[in-house]
């Protein structure tokens, strides 16, 4: 004999009242974030956090009023399972976001590195950090054609940039100091500039310097970098 006809014991909490309360609260927690976003009352990270908070609030409302979680007899396995699942979801979603961001920051392709450098005012030359520079002021251009450097002398301020433009047939190998001793400039040495292309360096060291084409050392120029 099955229990037909017996009223299955209604959980004391499963009343029309609880569903109505849950429904109204959920409506409120739906409209508020909607209005916030549409009217742009708040913006940016604050807005993001607000809408997430309201989502969580609505979830708890529904968990309590629709699902009656945590109101049954002990042991409350359902509740414990729910909380641990929430924790694991935080690990999965949060962990994935943090890790992929971290990997992206450390491993992003070079065409995107330039933006990062500009944003964070980090000037890297040859991969090495040479110290923080203020935003660049001026770009100086040096033309090299037929083995001649023009202009021969350049005066610049610290944190300006210097662009080598190769109008020769052959590629250049720009080295600093005298040939063959070579000094490095700000960590940079043996800069290859292909024919028809150019390369830019940041003048982050002050002083007077000489550069030359390692493959044809008579091709040489000078630049002086002044402190701001």
């Amino acid at each position: 004999m099955s229990a037909v006809g017996h009223e299955v014991k209604q959980s004391e909490h499963s009343t029309t009242r609880s569903y109505v309360i849950g429904f109204i609260l959920s409506l409120i927690f739906t409209f508020i974030p909607y209005k916030l976003v549409v009217n742009k009352t708040v913006t940016g990270t604050a807005l993001l956090i607000s809408i997430l908070v309201f989502a969580l609030l609505q979830m708890f409302v529904q968990i309590t009023f629709f699902l009656h979680l945590g109101r049954g007899p002990k042991p409350r396995w359902n509740l414990y399972f729910f909380y641990s699942t929430v924790g694991i979801i935080l690990i999965v979603v949060g962990g994935s976001i943090m890790i992929t961001n971290n990997l992206h920051y450390n491993m992003m392709p070079s065409d995107q590195t330039k933006k990062l450098l500009n944003d964070e005012n980090i000037y890297q030359i040859g991969g090495g950090r040479t110290g923080v520079c203020q935003a660049q002021h001026e770009n100086h251009r040096v033309n090299i054609s037929d083995g001649l450097v023009s202009p021969l002398y350049i005066t610049a301020q610290k944190c300006d940039t210097l662009t080598f433009i190769n109008n020769d047939e052959k590629y250049l190998e720009i080295s600093f100091g005298l040939h063959p001793e070579h000094d490095a400039y700000a960590g940079e040495n043996d800069i290859i500039v292909r024919s028809g292309k150019s390369k830019t360096i940041t003048l982050s060291e002050s002083g007077s310097f000489r550069f030359h084409n390692h493959l044809q050392p008579e091709t040489a120029g000078y630049f002086t970098v002044k402190e701001p």
Binding site: M1, S2, A3, V4, G5, E7, V8, Q10, S14, T15, T16, Y19, V20, G22, F23, S26, L27, T30, P33, Y34, V37, V38, T43, G44, L47, L48, I51, L52, F54, A55, Q58, M59, Q62, I63, F66, L67, W77, N78, F81, F82, T85, I88, I89, V92, V93, S96, I97, T100
Partner: protein
């Protein structure tokens, strides 16, 4: 006397079995939630990868999303009322409220399918970029769950009509209502993280 004992044993046995079944179904819902977690994680990582194409703020309609949200929320409310009736073995009320829930579910799905159809028609398919891939799969998986829920609902209601409400069917309806509530909760996060966030 012995008959009574046997009956009690049977009822206890059934009550224990129902308790176990609901608990097992709850654990299954947790695993489903974890699958959605992966889809949310993937969306959160890939939603910026539009490859120069339009992002969420250009493609989504907040109004439409709000409509869908309200429909689903109401259906979650009506399924709750349906379960109150079910536990009272009130067959006509059960059929009515589950019927309303079913209709709301169908309405939700049609709006969602229309949204998808429009996007695809305009050329924003899931093959274009990672953002669209993760959008379609996340929202589409939720829609697939809703579809299964509707199938489950219609089959169970058919049996209710045929056999009348008994405790076995009430148990099935209870699991279905859990499933339905759970889908609304997942939708809250889709509404927030996919639609609202696109306009932040």
């Amino acid at each position: 006397m012995v008959e009574n004992n046997k009956n009690n044993l049977h009822i206890d046995h059934e009550a224990a079995a129902t308790d176990r079944a609901m608990f097992g179904f709850w654990i299954y819902l947790m695993t489903d939630l974890l699958m959605f977690a992966v889809l949310f994680a993937v969306y959160s990582v890939l939603f910026k990868s539009t490859q120069g194409g339009p992002g969420g703020s250009e493609l989504f309609s907040l109004r439409l999303a709000l409509t869908e949200t309200l429909i689903l929320l109401t259906s979650s409310f009506t399924v709750g009322l349906a379960m109150i009736a079910a536990r009272r073995f009130n067959k006509s009320q059960v059929l009515f409220w589950f019927g309303v829930t079913f209709a709301l579910g169908v309405a939700f799905l049609s709006i969602e399918l229309k949204e998808f159809a429009e996007l695809i028609h305009e050329g924003h398919t899931l093959k274009i970029n990672a953002f669209l891939s993760s959008f379609f799969i996340l929202v589409g998986t939720h829609g697939l769950h809703i579809t299964f829920g509707l199938l489950w609902m219609s089959t169970t209601l058919a049996y209710v009509i045929k056999r009348g409400l008994n405790s076995q069917l009430v148990r099935k309806l209870a699991m279905l209502s859990l499933f339905w509530h759970f889908l609304d909760i997942v939708w809250i996060f889709i509404f927030t993280i996919v639609y609202l966030k696109a306009f932040v």
